[in-house]
C-alpha cells in the first residue's frame, strides 16, 4: 500500500520520462485554459467585488455563438467579429439590467444574480442555437491541426499543433492584457477601481463604463478560451464543467490576483493530470479530476486563507 502511494508512482515517472513529459504537456495546456477562465473572473472580481459564476458559461456561450453564426453561412472571421459584438452587447446588457439595480447589495445576492445569468445564458443559447453538440470551426479559422512528434529519451512525445497554438495565443493574450492594465489610461482606471471604489469615483472614473469594459474583456477572454476548448472537446453546454474548474484555481491563487490566476491555473492543470495518471487511475478507480483540484486548493487554503497571492485579509471590529 505504502509502496503504491509513495514509491511506485515516482519510479514509474523516472522509468518512462517521455510519458511523464507528455502528461506534463497535457496538464500545461489545460492549465492554461483554466488560467484564462480564472483571469476573466479575477478582472471582474477586482473591479466590482462580484463573484462572477457566469464566466464559465460565457466561454460556452461565446463558442456557441461563433459556431452558430458560422453555420448561418457567415464567413469565419466575420463571425468572430460578430461574436465579439455579441459579447459587447451582453456586457452592456448585464451592466444595465442586472448590475446597476443591484449595486450595494450583499455579495451573496450578486453571486446569485450571476447564477441567474448563467441559467439565462444556457437557456438562451440552447433556444437559439440548439442543444446538440457542435464542432468548433478549427480549420476555417486557420488554426493548424496536425501534430509534431518529438523523441526525447528515445520515447515518444506528441505535441498537437492545436495545443501549441493555444499556448502561444494564451500567452500573447495575457501579455496584452497586462500591458493594457499597466500602460493605458483605461487599464489604470480598472486597477484604481479595484483598489478603492470611492477614491476612484471621486477622481472621475465612471463606474458604469469600467464595468462594461471589464465584462467585455471577460467576454473576449471567454471567446478565446471557447475556441481553444471547443476545438479540443466540441461545443456544447457540457463544457460548463470547466466553469467549475476555474473555481479552485481562484481559491488557490487568490480571488484578486492576476498572477495568482495564472500560477494557480498552471499548478492545478499539471498537478491534477499527474495525480490522475499516477495515483488516481491505479489506486482510486480514476476520474479523480472532478475533485482533486478542490481538495488541493482546500488544503492550501488551510495554511493561507487568502490563497497564494490574494490580498491579506485584515479584519476590524
Amino acid at each position: 500500500m505504502l509502496n503504491d502511494i509513495f514509491i511506485a508512482p515516482f519510479s514509474d515517472m523516472i522509468s518512462a520520462p517521455d510519458f511523464l513529459m507528455q502528461v506534463l504537456w497535457e496538464g500545461l495546456v489545460s492549465g492554461i485554459l483554466y488560467a484564462l477562465i480564472a483571469l476573466g473572473f479575477v478582472l471582474i472580481f477586482r473591479s466590482s467585488r462580484i463573484f462572477n459564476f457566469a464566466q464559465g458559461i460565457m466561454v460556452v456561450f461565446a463558442a456557441l455563438t461563433l459556431v452558430g453564426l458560422f453555420a448561418m453561412g457567415i464567413p469565419a472571421w466575420i463571425s468572430v467579429g460578430l461574436t465579439l459584438g455579441v459579447m459587447f452587447v451582453l456586457a452592456v446588457a448585464i451592466e444595465r439590467v442586472v448590475l446597476r439595480p443591484l449595486v450595494g447589495q450583499p455579495d451573496i445576492i450578486l453571486f446569485m444574480a450571476t447564477i441567474g445569468i448563467t441559467l439565462f445564458l444556457i437557456g438562451f443559447g440552447e433556444t437559439i442555437f440548439g442543444g446538440e453538440n457542435k464542432v468548433m470551426i478549427t480549420e476555417e479559422l486557420g488554426i493548424p491541426t496536425g501534430d509534431t512528434v518529438l523523441e526525447p529519451f528515445g520515447g515518444l512525445l506528441i505535441l498537437q499543433h492545436l495545443d501549441i497554438t493555444v499556448v502561444v495565443v494564451a500567452t500573447l493574450l495575457v501579455l496584452a492584457l497586462l500591458a493594457f492594465l499597466n500602460y493605458t489610461q483605461m487599464g489604470r482606471a480598472i486597477r484604481a477601481l479595484g483598489d478603492d471604489h470611492q477614491a476612484a469615483l471621486s477622481v472621475g472614473i465612471s463606474l458604469q463604463t469600467i464595468w462594461v469594459l471589464v465584462w467585455f474583456i471577460a467576454g473576449i477572454i471567454a471567446l478565446v478560451t471557447g475556441i481553444a476548448w471547443g476545438a479540443r472537446a466540441g461545443v456544447s453546454f457540457a463544457l460548463e464543467v470547466i466553469a467549475y474548474k476555474a473555481l479552485p484555481v481562484l481559491m488557490l491563487g487568490g480571488l484578486e490576483s492576476i498572477t495568482g490566476a495564472i500560477v494557480g491555473g498552471l499548478m492545478i492543470g499539471i498537478l491534477e493530470k499527474l495525480f490522475e495518471i499516477y495515483w488516481g487511475q491505479p489506486l482510486l478507480g480514476g476520474n479523480t479530476e472532478t475533485w482533486f483540484a478542490f481538495v488541493l486548493a482546500l488544503i492550501v487554503l488551510l495554511f493561507r486563507p487568502q490563497g497564494l497571492f490574494g490580498e491579506r485579509i485584515i479584519e476590524r471590529v
Partner: protein, 409 residues
C-alpha cells in the same frame, strides 16, 4: 384592521415567548396546517402529489437546512446536494442492512451521518471565510458525488450503480418503494417536515440561534463577547447537514424512488440555494415560499406550454393570468409599479401564446425545456432586483401594511 395587533397584551413571560405571539399569525398558520393535513390529501390528484406537494415539502426542508447554515450562521455553502446524497445513501444502507428497522426511524437517523460528514467538511470554516469557504464546500460536493459513484459498497454492488428503494411496510401497508400510495408518502413527508420545522424554529430563536446570528453578523465581535466560534460554526454545520440529510433521504425514499449519483450533483445544490435565497436568507417561512416558487414554476410553465397536462390552452391561459395577477398584487402591495409592467408583459405573452396554440401552433418539447431554463434564470434575476431579501421580506411588508390598513401610517 384585519391584522390589528393592538390590544393583544402579554401578561406573562410565557405569553411573551410564545411561538406565535400574534393571534392572527397563529390563525393563518392554523389554516395552512388544515390545508396541508386535511384538505390537500383529500383533494389532490396523483399528479399534484408527485409534481407539487411532495417535492415542495422536501425542497423546503432542504432549503431550511441550508438556510440555517447560510442564513443564520452566515457560512455560504454550495455542497447541499452532496449532503442530501449522504442522507439518501445512509438511509439506503440502513434499510438494506437492517431490514427490521422502522423506515421513518431510518430516515430520521440518516441525518446523523450527513451531520457527521458536514462537521468534517465544516472544519475549514474556522479558517476560511466568505467566497473561499463557498468554493471549499464545492470540494465536498465533487468529492462526495465521486465517492457515491466509485464506492460500490454504498449501492450494494448492483450493476446499475443506482440505489433502488425497496418496498417497506409499516402497520401493514407499504410506505416506501413502487407500491406505496402517494397519500401515505405525502403524510410521512409532511410529518417529518413539520417536526423538523418546529425544531428549527425553536433552535433559531433560542440560545444556539442567537450565537449563530452573532457569528453571521460579525464573527470577531461575537468572539469578543464570549461566543465560542468553533462551537457556533460547527453546530451550525451539524444541524444544517442533519436537516439536509433527512431531506435527502426523503427525496429518494418518498419521491424519486431511485437515484443515481449524478442526481446529487451541483444543479441540485444550486436549486436548493435558489430556494433559500429567493425565499429569504435568515427566515424559516421563506423556504416554503421559495420552494413553492422554484418547484411550482417549471410545472406551471409546462402547463402553460400545454405539453404535459392540459391540451386546452384556455385553462392554461387562465392559470397563467391568475398566477401573474397574484404575483403582481404582491409587488403592488410591497413595492412600486415595477412588478405591474412585468406582469402585464407576462399576461400579454401568455395570451399571444395561447392564441397561437389554438391556431394549431406547437413548440417541440426540447425547445420548451430550453425556454424554461431561460425564464427561470430571468426570474431569479427579476426577483433579486425586486426584493433582494426574498419572498419572506415581501410577506413581512404586506403584513405591516395590513396591520396599519386602512390608515397610511
Amino acid at each position: 384592521m384585519l391584522y390589528r395587533t393592538a390590544g393583544q397584551f402579554k401578561t406573562s413571560y410565557n405569553a411573551d415567548q410564545a411561538l406565535f405571539p400574534v393571534k392572527q399569525d397563529a390563525f393563518l398558520l392554523g389554516i395552512i396546517l388544515i390545508l396541508a393535513w386535511v384538505v390537500f390529501p383529500l383533494t389532490a390528484s396523483e399528479f399534484t402529489f408527485q409534481t407539487l406537494l411532495i417535492p415542495i415539502l422536501i425542497y423546503a426542508l432542504a432549503a431550511m437546512g441550508l438556510n440555517i447554515l447560510t442564513g443564520f450562521a452566515g457560512q455560504l455553502s454550495l455542497g447541499t446536494g452532496a449532503f442530501m446524497g449522504v442522507g439518501a445513501y445512509a438511509c439506503y444502507k440502513m434499510v438494506t442492512l437492517f431490514p427490521w428497522m422502522n423506515p421513518i426511524v431510518a430516515i430520521l437517523l440518516s441525518g446523523v451521518f450527513s451531520a457527521g460528514i458536514g462537521v468534517a467538511f465544516g472544519i475549514p470554516s474556522l479558517r476560511i471565510k466568505g467566497f473561499y469557504l463557498a468554493i471549499a464546500t464545492l470540494a465536498a460536493q465533487f468529492f462526495l458525488v465521486w465517492l457515491f459513484e466509485k464506492w460500490a459498497w454504498l449501492y450494494n454492488y448492483n450493476a446499475s450503480g443506482a440505489i433502488q428503494v425497496p418496498n417497506l411496510e409499516m402497520f401493514g401497508m407499504f410506505i416506501t418503494g413502487p407500491q406505496a400510495a402517494s397519500v401515505t408518502e405525502y403524510y410521512i413527508v409532511l410529518f417529518v417536515v413539520s417536526l423538523l420545522t418546529l425544531l428549527c424554529i425553536n433552535l433559531t430563536r433560542g440560545n444556539l440561534g442567537r450565537t449563530w446570528k452573532a457569528t453571521r453578523d460579525m464573527d470577531i465581535a461575537a468572539e469578543l463577547i464570549g461566543i465560542n466560534l468553533m462551537k457556533s460554526k460547527l453546530t451550525a454545520f451539524a444541524v444544517s447537514s442533519y436537516v439536509v440529510g433527512v431531506s435527502g433521504a426523503l427525496y429518494v425514499f418518498m419521491w424519486k424512488g431511485a437515484a443515481e449519483p449524478n442526481v446529487f450533483d451541483i444543479p441540485l445544490s444550486f436549486q436548493v440555494l435558489f430556494i433559500a435565497i429567493i425565499g429569504g436568507l435568515g427566515s424559516i417561512m421563506g423556504n416554503y415560499l421559495g420552494a413553492i416558487l422554484i418547484v411550482g414554476l417549471p410545472v406551471v410553465l409546462n402547463v402553460i406550454a400545454g405539453t404535459q397536462v392540459f391540451e386546452m390552452s384556455g385553462i392554461s391561459a387562465i392559470l397563467a393570468i391568475a398566477l401573474a395577477a397574484a404575483v403582481g398584487f404582491l409587488f403592488w402591495v410591497a413595492r412600486n409599479g415595477w412588478g405591474i409592467g412585468a406582469v402585464i408583459g407576462f399576461v400579454v405573452l401568455t395570451l399571444i401564446y395561447g392564441y397561437a396554440q389554438t391556431q394549431g401552433f406547437r413548440i417541440d418539447s426540447a425547445l420548451i425545456e430550453h425556454i424554461n431554463v431561460m425564464i427561470i434564470g430571468a426570474l431569479i434575476i427579476f426577483f433579486l432586483i425586486i426584493e433582494p431579501h426574498g419572498l419572506n421580506q415581501l410577506w413581512r411588508l404586506i403584513r405591516e401594511k395590513l396591520i396599519i390598513w386602512p390608515f397610511p401610517h
